[in-house]
Symmetry: none
Subunit: 264 residues, 2 copies
Amino acid sequence: MTTNGAIFEVKMAQASVLKKVIDAIKDLLGDSSWDCTNSGMSLQAMDSAHVALVNVLLRSEGFENYRCNRNVTLGISLGSLTKVLKCAGNDDELTIRHDDKTNVVTFGFTNDESERYAEFDLKLMNLDSESLAIPEIEYDCVVKMPSTEFRRVVQDLAQFGDSIDIVCAKTNVLFEATGDIGKGQIRLSERSSKKSDQDVTIEMIEPVRLTFALKYLNMFTKATPISDVVQLALSNNHPLCLEYPIPEVGRVRFYLAPKINEEN
Amino acid sequence: MTTNGAIFEVKMAQASVLKKVIDAIKDLLGDSSWDCTNSGMSLQAMDSAHVALVNVLLRSEGFENYRCNRNVTLGISLGSLTKVLKCAGNDDELTIRHDDKTNVVTFGFTNDESERYAEFDLKLMNLDSESLAIPEIEYDCVVKMPSTEFRRVVQDLAQFGDSIDIVCAKTNVLFEATGDIGKGQIRLSERSSKKSDQDVTIEMIEPVRLTFALKYLNMFTKATPISDVVQLALSNNHPLCLEYPIPEVGRVRFYLAPKINEEN
DNA sequence: GGCATTGGCA
DNA sequence: TGCCAATGCC
């Protein structure tokens, strides 16, 4: 448990935050390559089928303590990390530590009263880091809505087909799926209330109409527990960017290229 | 979403009512043929094994709005309808619409604040409509009891055998099942209290003793959520008529022919 | 806040 | 297929 020589040592107040993040991405990615710098930890990778892209950012300010003496990349199996995180109590504090003289990363869990300390060393993996620069474009439509409601839309329409059409206009967004048994349409209109996490807001520059594979959107909604709200950023002929803010800490983003509609 | 040309358009205040009805019958029937007239929607069909008969009536007065310009029969897959109804919120209003220039029926769900509108088109099926006239006979015994209590009787006795004997006398009714492990008997007597939905009442003209397959009764009790009370109408050598009233709206009836007891 | 039901996981 | 967790309803 010595910390001497550790070039990376951070403490997260709630292990459950990382738990939710890993739950959200482990079905898409087998392994993870975390870039650790002074400003935070981030991950970016294509899913195993090279269709979707996952981007996670955990800002250093979101941690209780954050120290990173030298930039380092930690290659971690998400399967192993999931096992480790299962050993954390929900309110446990989480310490992540790495000493570059070793090839392990250490996860430590402490509960509030520090009566229990659990520590797990995971072997690091050497992963090909595909550095994928994603241009931050201005999207034609940006929709914010409750994350559970988005999951609901995706799950409901998955009953009707493999693809979902998203048609966004100034004040409402239409989700549509067609299949053998019939057609399903769900229309949401802008709304606001006292509980702002229940709002639906739309910022539109240009209307969009895009088609996506429901299978992937469904996997993305595994991130629902991370945040009450989700943001869909859409542009014609561009990948969707689905963002779940990690409160106080950062975000998880999923990118998915639209299907090219045969009838277009 | 135009309603022009719709020859059938009705609005039900609670989608959950139809949900419960469909849940109650979908295990017995694969498809459903709904006769829609000015006075309501009704369905009548044998189960796939041609042993039991299901009859549903939804009276027009039970709807918020009801318009049926011309009698029409809607052939609907209950599997598909179940999928559609999964997409309804519990308190959603339900609109059912059909235009006879199309071969679809449209189910629309609106929540209270109408910020979300979901609409599903189901393809209609061409079903052989077996019109089965059921004579309304006067039954020898009519038993009313709490629906949950009837379900309990059926489930409890199903532990002991495949068949249930129902023996009804003037003031009490006996349910009995015999099997390898032994015999189970449950006797209910007439009773009444302030909460009349907890009453057991018996109207007897003639005592009856009948045997039924528990497997079917068990399936019928899927209708328990529809109503607090259930009515058993029994006559010697006649099918049982099990009726779950749909409050304010109509009823679901199940008919089941008695087993002929070998020892009789 | 507790209970029941449902969906996910083993 | 059975158990457990999470969610939605009362």
